[in-house]
């Protein structure tokens, strides 16, 4: 059982529970622009975070809990029993992230053996820009964010709805990150 099988198992479980999710983070960058090294699978989940003290959620053993201070969301890190692949779940609590889950689109993946829910280019850009402006973001991660944004914009320039990106990134206070890359 490898990474693709782990991802399929987790996505199947969310489907069974009728909980919408969308892939974000490094794996979303793979889909949108170009593969780069990442350490985990990040999922934005349209659900309430599990109660404090819960040992598992959607088949994942809970390893850590934290707070996403950019969108004010609960975050749970976990893994499938006896499997090392980390999953990080962001529980969509902000109107922008909730609509990003709703706007997800399927990407058929022969490796995963099912469709994988991918974010729109615009939602990825706005979320990435918002995280890059977080005061707690390390310089190294912010630099990586800038490289990721540039890669997506260069790869997808012709299809980006810039009116949408500008409206939402202005309301989140991160348009200054994206405007020079337009």
């Amino acid at each position: 059982m490898g990474v693709a099988e782990d991802l399929r198992a987790v996505l199947d479980r969310f489907d069974e529970e009728e909980t919408p999710v969308v892939i974000v983070g490094g794996i979303a960058l793979d889909i949108l622009a170009q593969p780069r090294s990442t350490a985990d699978v990040d999922l934005l989940v349209d659900d309430d975070a599990p109660d404090v003290g819960a040992a598992s959620y959607a088949g994942l053993l809970i390893e850590e809990r934290s707070r996403d201070e950019v969108f004010g969301q609960d975050v749970v890190a976990g893994h499938l029993p006896t499997r090392p692949l980390p999953f990080e779940l962001f529980f969509a609590a902000h109107p922008f992230t909730r609509q990003a889950v709703r706007r997800r689109r399927p990407v058929e993946s022969p490796e995963v053996g099912r469709s994988v829910p991918a974010p729109t280019v615009e939602d990825f850009l706005v979320m990435k820009a918002a995280y890059s402006r977080s005061p707690s973001r390390s310089q190294a991660k912010a630099a990586q964010d800038a490289v990721d944004l540039e890669a997506v914009i260069e790869s997808r320039r012709d299809e980006i709805d810039w009116d949408f990106v500008e409206e939402h990134s202005r309301s989140l206070g991160c348009w200054d990150v994206l405007e020079p890359l337009r």
Partner: protein
């Protein structure tokens, strides 16, 4: 560009060497980006998952693995989390 970097190295100007190396890296990044832009989303996802697989394998090297699969999985998980 490689010739320019080699020339800069011979001339002994560290700043010039760094500048040349940086421009090589930028150019390589551009080439990689253009190459990946021609591939499908599914192909890029497959490559990304493969990279993640290799990283997971690295931190769960059997030489360091415990005989207890739960312990080994938790250690691998922690290593990946710390790296990330």
């Amino acid at each position: 560009m490689l010739v320019r970097a080699a020339d800069a190295e011979r001339s002994g100007t560290r700043r010039e060497v760094y500048k040349s190396i940086r421009s090589i890296r930028v150019r390589m990044g551009d080439l990689a980006r253009r190459m990946w832009a021609r591939r499908s989303e599914a192909e890029r996802l497959a490559e990304g998952l493969d990279m993640l697989e290799r990283r997971v394998e690295k931190v769960t090297d059997p030489d360091q693995a415990s005989t207890d699969p739960r312990e080994a999985a938790a250690r691998g998980f922690r290593s990946l989390r710390e790296e990330g």
